[in-house]
Structures are given as structure tokens and as C-alpha cells.
């Protein structure tokens, strides 16, 4: 079995043994998104306009929250150190781990997003745009965020630090993802934004495993 699938499957088994790690990000995502209607004038037109942006910000925050625990248990039980000295390719292992992490967070959030769209009265043709954007954007969020998680894994108070170093790097994904919906509401074509998100995802898939591996080698010694 190759390194990628091995670590992907390992991560899956660990996550499904602990179902709370699956439910927490999704719950957080929904709660954040539902805070906005309460803090704004309850007008359907307004909620419809801001809904896409709100859902994107919630997805970013939910991903960010889930990142902190990404390497924690592996670090504390010594698995991570074993991975570092093992002859298997560390970047590939990290790619498998990050992708498995994404299926439990980003993918679940994306699948649930149409339901949230309904509460914001977003028309059905735009729901598809948002869904496609989230599906393409959230893997990049996890892959880039994993670099921050790897850099801060040995720190006791790493949570705020991850947010400080990673959120600025999330801005392009947020801009294209949420901007896509703004385009769609004006009846404009969104393929160029989809391409941009896909390009970012390609970059993230190819480069971030090396950055994650490098970060782990730096912080764990």
C-alpha cells in the first residue's frame, strides 16, 4: 500500500473512532453562520445578499478551528516523531493526512452548505455556485492551514498564532470564493473564478505537502 493511501486510511480510522471530531466543525460552522442574521436587521433581501459571504467566512473559521487538533494527538503520543524518522516520504504522508482531514471538515461543510443557503434565501442556481466554490476552495484552506498547524504543534498556546499566520494567507481563496457568488447574483459568468480556485488548489496540492513536512522537521527535534 502506498504512503498516501496508507496515511489517508489511518486518519480516517482514527477520526471515525472519535465522532465528535466529525461533528464539532460542522456544528461550529452552522452556529457561526446563524449568528449573522441575529446581528443584522432581519430583512430577507439583505440576508440574501450577504449569505454567500457569511457562509464562506464561517467555513474559513470552522476550518481554522479544526486545524489546531490536526497534529496534536499524533504529536503527544509520539507518532509524529516516528513519521519523521520513517523512510516513507513525509510530504506524501502529510498530503494523505491533510486530505483525510479535509473530508471530515471541508467536505462535510460543503455538503451541508446548501441547507444553510436555504435559511439565507439564496436562489437555487446560486446554491450550486457556492457549493462548487466551497468544494474547490476548502481543500486549499486545509492544505495551507496545515502548514500553520505544523509550525505551531509544539506550542502550548498555538491556537491564536495559527489564526494570525494563516488568515492573511486565506484571503485569495475567500475573495474568489465569495466573489464568485457576487458575480453570480449579477448574472455574470463565474468560470474564471472557478479556474482561479482550481489553480490555487493545484498549487496547494503540490507545494504545501513539502511546506508541512518542512515545518514539522523544523519544530519537532
Amino acid at each position: 500500500m502506498n504512503t498516501l493511501t496508507l496515511y489517508f486510511r489511518r486518519e480516517w480510522q482514527l477520526m471515525f473512532r472519535n465522532t465528535s471530531s466529525l461533528i464539532q466543525p460542522l456544528t461550529f460552522f452552522i452556529i457561526i453562520a446563524l449568528l449573522f442574521p441575529f446581528s443584522l436587521p432581519a430583512e430577507n433581501a439583505l440576508l440574501q445578499r450577504i449569505g454567500g459571504g457569511v457562509i464562506w467566512v464561517s467555513a474559513v473559521l470552522a476550518t481554522l478551528l479544526s486545524l489546531e487538533s490536526m497534529f496534536h494527538s499524533d504529536y503527544h503520543d509520539g507518532t509524529l516523531e516516528q513519521m519523521l524518522i520513517h523512510p516513507r516520504s513525509l510530504p506524501l504522508a502529510m498530503l494523505g493526512k491533510a486530505l483525510a482531514h479535509w473530508t471530515a471538515t471541508g467536505l462535510v461543510l460543503s455538503l451541508f452548505s446548501p441547507v444553510l443557503c436555504l435559511t439565507f434565501n439564496i436562489p437555487s442556481d446560486q446554491i450550486w455556485v457556492l457549493f462548487a466554490g466551497l468544494l474547490l476552495g476548502t481543500p486549499s484552506l486545509t492544505l495551507i492551514g496545515a502548514i500553520g498547524a505544523a509550525l505551531t504543534v509544539t506550542l502550548r498556546r498555538g491556537g491564536v498564532l495559527i489564526a494570525i499566520i494563516i488568515l492573511p494567507l486565506y484571503i485569495p481563496i475567500l475573495i474568489f470564493g465569495a466573489g464568485m457568488l457576487t458575480q453570480a447574483t449579477q448574472g455574470l459568468d463565474v468560470t474564471s473564478q472557478l479556474y482561479a480556485l482550481a489553480a490555487i488548489l493545484t498549487l496547494a496540492l503540490t507545494l504545501s505537502p513539502f511546506a508541512i513536512a518542512g515545518a514539522l522537521r523544523v519544530t519537532i527535534n
Partner: protein, 257 residues
């Protein structure tokens, strides 16, 4: 010996000498004042031409004189970031001690340049645009850049062990420099989407020489300021890092090295 070989030998010996903290401390003692002198001369000339000689702009009046500090500072904010990331990459790849020192000492200077660019920009924007802040592509990118600098500094100070901290900050600066162009491009696209009016007129009036000259003096002067401030802070960092070594102890006791 042919001239190229001798230039190469000179460059490689300089590189290796600067790679040693002690040699850096020795050489920088002479280089730092030169940088300071060049900075003072060039920026004094720039200030003289910018404040006294250049005639007031026909559209902006005398407010355009802010640009003689704003523009060089904004250029430097990006320049410092690139230097920082290149030094970080050199440090990570060739394990060069002094490269990490360049990265760490550049971050506060770069952050200060970025903050200055934002501040002077919004002071200029108030009379010219009628508002302190516009969600314009350049301003927004600059603000994000400031947060990238903060992130690198935060990472460095989060680790107790210096070597880990240096490497972590260097790695983050390299990651950042890959993403900076993407951020810039995306923010540009975003501002064209959100903004009704374009603030910066495309193909506007070309810069007259009376304005270009002080700007050039200031820009080069600020480049030397960066070198000056960088070497001053690097000298301190070297002393702290090497405080247990013999030569630093001898230096502290007043001996020359």
C-alpha cells in the same frame, strides 16, 4: 587569473566571511556607517529637492509632497519582504546562520515601513480623496502585508528555542512570498469588482522631472537606510546569539576583534 574568476573568488569569500558572525561583526563595523552616511546624504538631497525645489502640483497643491516619503516607504515594504524571504530560503537550504539573522532583523523594519506607507497614504488620502481609507487594491494588499509581517514576528517570538524560532520564521516567510503575488492578484480583481470609481487614473499625467528627481533620491536613500538599520539590529542580535563565545566576551571587555 582572468577577471571573472577573481570576481567569483571575491564574491564567494565575501559570502563565506559574512556567513560567520564574527566576520560579519568585524566587517559591518565599517560598512554600517557608510550606509548611514549614504542614507543621510541622499535623503537630505531628496528632502531638499522635494520640499523646496519641486513646484506644487497643479492638481494636488503641496499635498503631493507627502508622496516623497510615502512612495519610497511603500516600495521598501515590498523590497524588505523579498529580502527577508530570500534570506530565509538561503538559511533553510544552506543552513547559513547569518541568513536567519537577516530574516529576523528585517521583519520589524519591514513592518514599520508597511505601517508608515499605510499611515502616510491615508493622511494623503484625506485631502485628495476626501477619506482616510478606501478599499482599494493597493491599500488592501499593503494591509495584508502588514499582517504577514506580524505573523512572522509572532512565530519567531512564540518559540523558546532560538534555532527553532529562526527556522520557523524563515519557513513562514518563504511560504508568504509564494502567496503574496496571489494575494495581490486576487485583491486587484476584488477591488475592480467592488469599486465603482477608479481612484488611480489609468494613463494619468506623466511624472515631471522635478518630481522624479527627489523621488529617486529618497528611494535610494531609504534603501541605504534599510541596510543601515538592518546592520545595526543585526550587530545586536549577533552579540546576543554569540554571547558565550570568546570573541564577544573579549569585545565586551573592551578588546578589539
Amino acid at each position: 587569473m582572468n577577471p571573472f574568476t577573481s570576481i567569483w573568488t571575491f564574491l564567494s569569500t565575501t559570502y563565506h566571511r559574512l556567513g560567520s558572525p564574527r566576520e560579519f561583526y568585524r566587517i559591518s563595523r565599517y560598512v554600517t556607517p557608510v550606509f548611514g552616511f549614504l542614507f543621510l546624504t541622499l535623503s537630505a538631497l531628496g528632502a531638499y529637492f522635494g520640499l523646496f525645489v519641486a513646484p506644487a502640483d497643479y492638481q494636488q497643491g503641496d499635498a503631493f509632497r507627502i508622496l516623497f516619503v510615502h512612495v519610497p516607504v511603500a516600495w521598501m515594504s515590498l523590497f524588505v519582504y523579498v529580502v527577508m524571504a530570500v534570506a530565509g530560503a538561503i538559511g533553510l537550504i544552506w543552513r547559513m546562520k547569518m541568513a536567519f539573522v537577516v530574516t529576523i532583523c528585517s521583519a520589524p523594519i519591514g513592518a514599520a515601513f508597511t505601517a508608515l506607507a499605510l499611515l502616510t497614504g491615508s493622511i494623503w488620502g484625506k485631502p485628495i480623496w476626501g477619506t482616510y481609507w478606501v478599499w482599494d487594491a493597493r491599500l488592501t494588499s499593503e494591509l495584508i502585508l502588514l499582517f504577514l509581517y506580524f505573523g512572522i514576528m509572532a512565530v519567531y517570538y512564540a518559540f523558546e528555542e532560538r534555532k527553532t524560532a529562526e527556522k520557523a520564521a524563515a519557513l513562514l516567510s518563504v511560504v508568504g512570498v509564494v502567496i503574496v503575488p496571489i494575494i495581490h492578484y486576487s485583491v486587484e480583481w476584488w477591488s475592480s469588482l467592488h469599486q465603482g470609481v477608479t481612484v488611480f487614473a489609468e494613463g494619468g499625467p506623466k511624472m515631471p522631472p522635478s518630481m522624479l528627481l527627489p523621488l529617486a533620491f529618497m528611494a535610494v536613500g531609504f534603501m541605504f537606510f534599510y541596510g543601515y538599520a538592518l546592520f545595526l539590529t543585526m550587530r545586536n542580535r549577533v552579540l546576543i546569539n554569540e554571547r558565550k563565545s570568546k570573541w564577544v566576551r573579549a569585545l565586551a571587555m573592551g578588546e578589539s576583534i
